[in-house]
């Protein structure tokens, strides 16, 4: 396993983490994701961790890193499918994943990203209305 597949689904990129992440694999994933966000103009990144029974501080930091870099490229990161035991362990470790949004499953995560897209489109439309109105004011 030299790299984790990244799938483009609608406005989002989807990554399913199934294997033990070691340093190189995590770095490759971060780099691949960054490149794909730029190449595709994706507005969201869904990371499914339902396959993980353990999330340690290394994975926690990787998720936070991906979220930070994605945000700079105007894409929101949503971590989905976290197992209850993993959530408990993360809190016990003091890792509350700042800057990372979560959703119960991939479907709800996708809905979050679509809702954000719709809100952005509304804002754009409102801005254009303001501009249209400005000359007349």
């Amino acid at each position: 396993m030299e790299r984790i597949p990244i799938l483009k689904i609608g406005p989002a990129l989807l990554v399913t983490i199934q294997v033990d992440m070691h340093d190189q694999l995590a770095l490759t994933l971060e780099e691949d994701l960054t490149n794909r966000i730029v190449a595709t103009g994706a507005k969201g990144v869904l990371i499914d961790i339902s396959g993980l029974e353990i999330v340690d501080s290394f994975i926690g930091r990787m998720l936070a890193n991906i979220a930070s870099v994605s945000r700079m490229l105007d894409a929101e990161t949503v971590v989905v499918g976290m197992r209850p035991a993993v959530a408990i362990t993360l809190v016990e470790l003091g890792l509350s994943l700042p800057g990372v949004r979560t959703a119960l499953n991939a479907e709800r995560g996708m809905a979050l990203i679509s809702a954000r897209l719709a809100a952005l489109a509304r804002d754009d439309a409102a801005d254009e209305d303001d501009e249209d109105a400005a000359p007349g004011a």
Copy 2:
């Protein structure tokens, strides 16, 4: 890795194969997929194999099995992300994956499933029109 995560995205179930499949893992995946199709009423199954560098006859048979079982449950299977070298090897092995549809990537696979859903909806609407028209004929 005791089981491969299955994600529900829109009308489809999505599986990303990243690890070496052994017998038990393949059987578990087939069983899990069958249960999820019934539980969710999914109309399509997307299997991403972009992470696989080698597809042997074992994996080929597993894909064909999943496609056959899914079809009986009214879900279409689309294998996406096949690497060029894998396609060549499969043909050389005489495995042309009968009954399995393929698409270049997950996005196009999802479009295939959506198109099938739309066609089914049209057929349903046409049938209802025929029924409505029948008494008057």
